[in-house]
């Protein structure tokens, strides 16, 4: 009897959990998109994941749609998820949270599907990168760092939270190029995400780090880290460092995130999705999310985002080609 119970218990667990991971969909009523699923192409806790979960929550709170389900399909820098989106041709109830990292990953992974195959829905946010050193670093400002870097690129290891082709990798390469160096000489050390990089910057293991500001705010505030420059067009609130442009390095670089949908969806479905995210971007709940995470709003709907995507694609492709990575 007990054995039977144990078996039943195990069965129940097995049968109950998968439905937690997936669910059905309902028919649309009027303007609302019901049963929308958001694919996150990286692991729980990653950037696209946080954006997707925050957006889903804000959409539900603002009552723009109900029952949004976020699920992860990580792999190959987001291109496994991209492949899935491209294969779901015509599915108007699926979108993918993505960003600049996926653009590079398409090249480094030699992915058969590209972002040009998807239907752009909206660009949501931007997160500028910072050039950061520990408080004990000999470099007090960006000028000193650049001088040392140009003199001996090999001896100045640069850390970033993404592997080759990712945003933290592209930023120092573009910087080096603008500063008149050969990007191939840059000694780039990839780390698994911002956390591991943070430890290496704090411990002085690398000369400087380039990363999104997200996880670093507290350390900057407490004085453990020193920001030498920001990569965005304007200075950042709460950070005293100049922009790269002000420092004579003609680079403007921001990591961005947005939403794309599968190819071949109807104009109607596309309109409804664009509308949903447009209304999200205007909601007070979303503004609250932006504030809490320190993200900059960078909303661009549908076609506008499509053009931006194409331009970013060219820029990444050119940079990677110069590095001999493509």
């Amino acid at each position: 009897m007990k054995t039977l119970l144990a078996v039943l218990g195990a069965l129940a667990a097995v049968l109950l959990i998968p439905p937690l991971l997936s669910s059905g969909s309902d028919d649309d009523v009027g303007d609302q998109v019901r049963g929308l699923r958001v694919l996150v192409p990286n692991a729980p806790g990653g950037g696209y994941d946080i954006t997707a979960r925050n957006a889903a929550k804000a959409i539900e709170e603002a009552d723009l749609a109900s029952r949004i389900e976020v699920f992860n399909l990580p792999g190959a820098g987001g291109t496994v998820g991209l492949g899935r989106i491209v294969n779901e041709r015509g599915n108007g109830k699926l979108v993918m949270s993505m960003g600049l990292g996926v653009v590079g990953a398409v090249y480094t992974n030699k992915s058969p599907s590209s972002l040009a195959d998807t239907t752009p829905i909206a660009k949501l946010i931007e997160e500028p990168d910072i050039v950061v050193v520990s408080k004990d670093s000999p470099y007090k400002d960006i000028g000193q760092l650049l001088a040392a870097w140009k003199a001996n690129p090999g001896q100045i290891p640069v850390g970033g939270g993404s592997r080759a082709g990712g945003p933290d990798h592209l930023a120092p390469m573009l910087m080096a190029k603008a500063a008149g160096m050969d990007p191939r000489q840059v000694n780039y050390v990839p780390f698994d995400g911002g956390g591991e990089l943070l430890a290496s910057v704090l411990g002085g293991k690398i000369a400087f780090g380039v990363s999104g500001i997200g996880e670093y705010r507290d350390q900057i505030q407490s004085g453990d880290l020193r920001v030498l420059a920001v990569t965005s067009k304007d200075r950042l609130a709460g950070v005293t460092a100049p922009t790269l442009k002000e420092s004579g390095v003609d680079v403007e670089f921001t990591n961005w995130r947005g939403i794309v949908a599968p190819p071949g969806i109807s104009t109607n479905e596309r309109g409804r999705l664009v509308n949903l995210f447009t209304r999200l971007a205007g909601s007070p709940q979303w503004r609250e999310v932006l504030k809490r995470n320190g993200w900059t709003s960078a909303f661009q709907p549908g076609d506008e985002f499509g053009k931006f995507l194409a331009a970013e694609n060219d820029r990444v492709a050119t940079t990677l080609k110069e590095l001999g990575l493509v």
């Binding site: 990580p74 995400g193 411990g203 507290d218």
Partner: protein, 499 residues
């Protein structure tokens, strides 16, 4: 002692009936989900994140503490009973735990794991309370050269798990290292052994490899032989830990946390390497050496205590530095940010009440887990009474669900069964599977740290020995390697001097 008064206040918050209920719910949910292979603590916390949206931050984090520890614990149950590790931290537990279960000592193994988990978590959490700021500062000082030295140390200890035939042991290790090579090279973006498949470019999850080699390989092996051997159900012995078991386990329980905690606290430390180190340490120190491989209780007690303490170490880095050292910590960090709380050096000052309530609830979660799981151990162990054909069919089913759950991808199932077939072939030709799993764990980690160290030093070999810690570890390695020679010479001289 400011920490202790704050901790007592924390208990005051965590012990209110409502918060206690959240802790119970968290522990139950965590254990249930953790039992499924493939759904590790990170996935469990991410899946359950929406449930906590309606709660106040304190309640939510108390629930998280329960889910985190609960899911780690659930992973070791399937590891012991079904040879199907639920997560990386319980891979090592399967090595001795499953043989124990097969000899009818399943409930003892589960009890040793439960108590090990409790002791490890308690000591780890106490260390968190006492050392949080210090550990965080030290953790940052450890870099790639130090890691690589530790990896080398671990590789040297691999020789003790190679089994009777060195050649077969090394062959198995190389199979593991080869599987570990699969994926995109992080430094250059080069594809390695991916055969053009995107799904392989992140490499193969250690859990999938372990489940395939342990569970699938064995199920196929049993299926191939069941006709010839008599199908007796696995015996279920006495339900409780005997005095002898406790005498053998208490030292590993106490040693484990001191291996696990520091590893959890350092970036890229995680639980795999310390649990393995604990395993080899216990094996070296054990007085019952002939029992290893057939179910030595020390091999369960030590690694479980280590895994649990490494989870506390992870929380230490996350709370004091905002440094997510594991995937689970990254999810928890995201959860903190949901509530507008930024973990980091200022967290203890800014959100003192919440942090101490969280720490207090870690203690509570541990007690709850022990209370829930110790009586359940004999009940779980009865699972093995199921006749073997059904049991192994169930294991295959569980393993497949788990592999699929890792990313919801059919490719993982193919990978699972291909490696499972390798596991079957290894059993057929007498290759031990253990070194292969160790190879998958250590290989990629060692490669990454070696190359990172060399990259930072711009290719100069001196970059590997430029820190006091790495030099110390290398000296230790030399001492271990030289010791047998020294001893032999001493013995030779003694025998020459002798009559």
């Amino acid at each position: 002692m400011g920490s202790f008064t704050s901790l007592i206040d924390g208990f005051g918050t965590a012990l209110t009936p409502v918060n206690l209920m959240y802790a119970v719910i968290g522990v139950l949910l965590g254990t249930t989900i953790g039992v499924l292979p493939g759904i590790g603590a990170a996935m469990a916390v991410a899946l359950l994140l929406p449930i906590t949206y309606g709660l106040d931050p304190t309640g939510a984090f108390i629930m998280f503490a329960g889910i985190y520890y609960g899911s780690m614990f659930g992973g070791s149950t399937t590891s012991i009973l079904l040879n199907t590790p639920g997560e990386t931290s319980s891979v090592v537990t399967a090595m001795e735990g499953n043989p124990m279960a097969k000899r009818g000592r399943g409930s003892q193994a589960l009890a040793a794991a439960a108590i090990g988990h409790f002791v490890g978590g308690m000591i780890g959490t106490l260390l968190l309370v006492l050392l949080a700021p210090v550990v965080a500062k030290l953790a940052v000082g450890i870099g790639a050269p130090d890691f690589f030295a530790i990896m080398l140390l671990a590789f040297i200890s691999v020789t003790s798990v190679l089994g009777k035939s060195r050649v077969r042991g090394f062959a198995s290790l190389l199979i593991g290292l080869a599987i570990g090579l699969i994926g995109l090279d992080e430094m250059t973006g080069q594809q390695r052994l991916t055969f053009g498949s995107l799904h392989l470019s992140d490499g193969i999850d250690v859990v999938v490899v372990a489940v395939a080699l342990f569970a699938v390989g064995e199920s196929l092996w049993v299926a191939a032989h069941l006709r010839r051997i008599q199908a007796e159900p696995i015996p279920v012995g006495r339900p409780w830990l005997g005095r002898g078991d406790v005498r053998r386990s208490w030292r590993p329980w106490l040693r484990g946390p001191f291996i696990g905690f520091p590893f959890g606290a350092i970036p890229a430390g995680g639980a795999e390497i310390p649990t393995f180190l604990s395993y080899v340490t216990e094996r070296r120190l054990s007085k019952n050496k002939d029992e290893w491989g057939k179910g030595a209780i020390e091999g369960v007690a030590g690694p479980e205590a280590t895994a649990s303490a490494s989870a506390s170490g992870t929380l230490t880095s996350m709370l004091t530095l905002g440094l997510p050292t594991t995937a689970t910590a990254a999810v928890m960090l995201a959860a903190f940010q949901q509530y507008g709380i930024q973990p980091g050096p200022l967290l203890f000052e800014r959100e003192s009440g919440l942090v101490w309530a969280l720490i207090a609830s870690l203690f509570i979660a541990l007690v709850l887990l022990l209370v829930l799981n110790l009586p359940l151990a004999p009940v779980w162990a009865k699972l093995l009474r199921i006749p073997r054909p059904y049991l192994y069919a169930g294991i295959l089913f569980f393993a497949s669900v788990g592999a699929y759950a890792v990313s919801g991808d059919v490719v993982d199932l193919v990978v699972l069964f291909v490696i499972g077939l390798i596991g079957l072939a290894m059993r057929r030709y007498g290759l031990p599977v253990l070194p292969a799993v160790i190879g998958v764990i250590l290989g990629p980690a060692a490669e990454q740290q070696l190359r990172r160290a060399l990259q930072i030093s711009d290719g100069s070999v001196s970059g590997l020995v430029n820190s006091p810690m790495s030099v110390t570890v290398y000296v230790l390695i030399l001492a271990i390697l030289a010791w047998p020679l020294v001893r032999r010479r001493a013995r030779d001289q003694a025998s020459m001097v002798g009559p």
